[in-house]
């Protein structure tokens, strides 16, 4: 309820970015004597004081193990941990807290589904469908599963703008397609995939759908019930929360039917050497002492984002995307890779005659952090026939001034190389 109440209207101007920047202590840093211009948000985001302080408060006042002790601190820690589950549930509008499984991140969420759902539901001859623009973490677990089960991994192609070919989605779905796994948004190109339509098509075909939401949750409002996706995985660290923690959402009926992923403490009701009874959802999938501080930090991050309002954040980031696209296109010899109509605030680019790695080093000397390389998406690089790209990705605290700094930095790169 509270999150809905504090959400504001959708104007970019809503965000008081100058004030917001004060919430992020690291943004005050100098790098090589220049103010930090952090444009690597698709890799990981910076953390606001609200998150840093929450974690400190947890360790200072609340630290204890969860679900175990009868003593006061254990109750406090358990309440914080389970309260955070409620925050996540509301943030993505899941139907029940049983559907929120805490994992290490998107990668572990996908591996959990590949391992647990995959091993029980995917047989020899079956097919798994992914797209040509997936992150390695939404490719390799399925390759491993296919290899193990004798199933086939099929790849939805993209057009030159980096958009999925929807008629291919329709054509490739068939009676053997057990699972379809696609990203909500591409970290390498920025493409926002039409996941609602994809989910509908898959479900009409009786195919289960996993959404890799690593680049969705930070930028887009997600309502898993409205989307009707079966699984949705995301990472805390890309949405202003701590590293090492993430969420797998799964529909209760599906999770209920799946075997545990890992065995250990917390995921059991009773253990004897003859028979072990597994715990109820979501604990069945949370073996061992969890990252309690990470979970409470994640909840603080989601509260922070909710208070600003995702529509306002999205509008601000969209403004930066348009402005940066316009400015970068002015640069002689610069080519943007990924020109989908619907994009998250990610711009991949190449500069004629200069390798991205050299761009990264020169920009770094100007205090500008961008990612260079294959962005854990080597098949994307192959599809667009580039060895690597430079990538600027914007978050809620970035400004047009920082886009200007990037442009000046790139001009500096050209100066060094010409």
């Amino acid at each position: 309820m509270t999150t809905a109440l504090i959400q504001k209207d959708h104007q970019a101007a809503d965000l008081d970015v100058a004030r917001i920047r004060e919430d992020f202590p690291i943004l005050g840093r100098q790098i090589h004597g220049k103010p930090l211009v952090y444009l690597d948000n698709a890799a990981t985001t910076q953390k606001p004081n609200a998150v840093i302080d929450r974690i400190t408060r947890y360790y200072t006042h609340e630290n204890s193990n969860v679900h175990r002790g009868v003593h006061h601190l254990s109750e406090v820690a358990t309440a914080a941990y389970e309260g955070a589950r409620g925050t996540v549930k509301r943030f993505i509008n899941a139907g029940s807290e049983k559907e929120i499984v805490f994992v290490r991140g998107t990668t572990e969420g996908i591996n959990l589904v590949a391992s647990s759902f995959g091993r029980t539901n995917v047989k020899a001859g079956d097919e798994i469908l992914i797209s040509a623009i997936e992150h390695h973490s939404n490719i390799v677990p399925w390759q491993m599963l296919c290899q193990e089960r004798g199933a086939t991994l099929r790849i939805i192609p993209v057009n030159d703008a980096g958009e999925l070919l929807m008629d291919q989605v329709r054509a490739m779905l068939n009676e053997r397609t057990r699972l379809l796994a696609v990203g909500h948004a591409s970290n390498a190109l920025g493409t926002i995939n039409p996941i609602r339509e994809i989910i509908e098509l898959a479900h009409a075909n009786g195919t289960t759908v996993l959404i890799d939401g690593a680049q969705g949750v930070p930028h887009l409002e997600v309502d898993v019930q409205d989307l009707d996706c079966d699984f949705y995985a995301f990472s805390s660290h890309k949405v202003y929360g701590p590293t090492g923690i993430g969420v797998l959402y799964g529909k209760e009926a599906l999770l209920e039917a799946m075997p545990p992923y890992q065995g250990g403490g917390d995921m059991i009701l009773s253990v004897s050497f003859d028979k072990t009874t597994y715990n109820a959802l979501p604990y069945k999938f949370e073996a061992g002492t969890p990252d309690i501080a990470g979970v409470v930090g994640l909840a603080a991050a989601l509260d922070y984002v909710s208070a600003l309002g995702l529509p306002s954040i999205a509008a601000h980031e969209h403004d930066l995307l348009l402005y940066a696209t316009e400015q970068l296109e002015e640069i002689d010899g610069l080519r943007i890779i990924g020109t989908a109509r619907h994009k998250a605030s990610v711009i991949s680019f190449v500069l004629e005659g200069v390798h991205p790695h050299d761009i990264g080093t020169i920009l770094d000397q100007e205090g500008i952090a961008v990612r260079t390389g294959h962005h854990c998406a080597q098949p994307v690089m192959m599809r667009f026939n580039v060895p690597a790209t430079g990538r600027a990705s914007f978050g809620l605290y970035n400004t047009r001034d920082e886009v200007d700094a990037l442009v000046r930095g790139l001009e500096r790169v050209i100066e060094v190389f010409r």
Binding site: H32, H355, P356, H357, D358, Q365, G373, H374, P387
Partner: protein
């Protein structure tokens, strides 16, 4: 900025733009690939060995300016040299890019162009890729070298 000019010295920019010995070598007796998965730098180095002497050396591939210039400078330095001389150069190069500043200009020769690299730890692997690949080729192994 001075740091940047130290890294991207004219010699490096020139070798990046016009790499020497940048072609395949049909007569090669050894051929080894070098790969840096972090940045995607990928080169194939060809050696034509005549006993203990490197009769000819060439390379193809792609990567950043530092890695390409390094491969180019290396090829022009080791051509006609003995294995031992090439290994000694490799050793000097390694010392240079890992921050040993005790080498004289004489000892370094053209390698001096890479004196700025040690200030950029993330780029040491780029600079070293071709040399590691050469080292493997001289040692007689036919495989892919990775600097990760």
């Amino acid at each position: 900025m001075s740091d940047l000019r130290e890294l991207y010295q004219q010699v490096i920019l020139d070798h990046n733009r016009n790499p020497r010995n940048f072609h395949e070598l049909p007569a090669a007796t050894r051929k080894v690939e070098g790969y840096n998965p972090l940045c995607g730098d990928h080169y194939t180095i060809y050696l034509d060995l005549d006993g203990e002497t490197i009769r000819d050396v060439a390379f193809v591939g792609s990567g950043c300016a530092i890695s390409k210039a390094s491969a180019s400078v290396m090829s022009s330095m080791v051509k006609g040299k003995s294995r031992d001389e090439a290994d000694a150069l490799f050793e000097r190069f390694h010392r240079l890019v890992t921050g040993d500043s005790s080498l004289s200009a004489d000892e370094l020769g053209k390698l001096a162009a890479f004196s700025g690299v040690s200030e950029f730890p993330a780029r040491v692997k780029c600079a070293s890729l071709a040399w590691h690949t050469l080292h493997t080729a001289l040692a007689g192994a036919e495989n892919v070298v990775s600097t990760e």
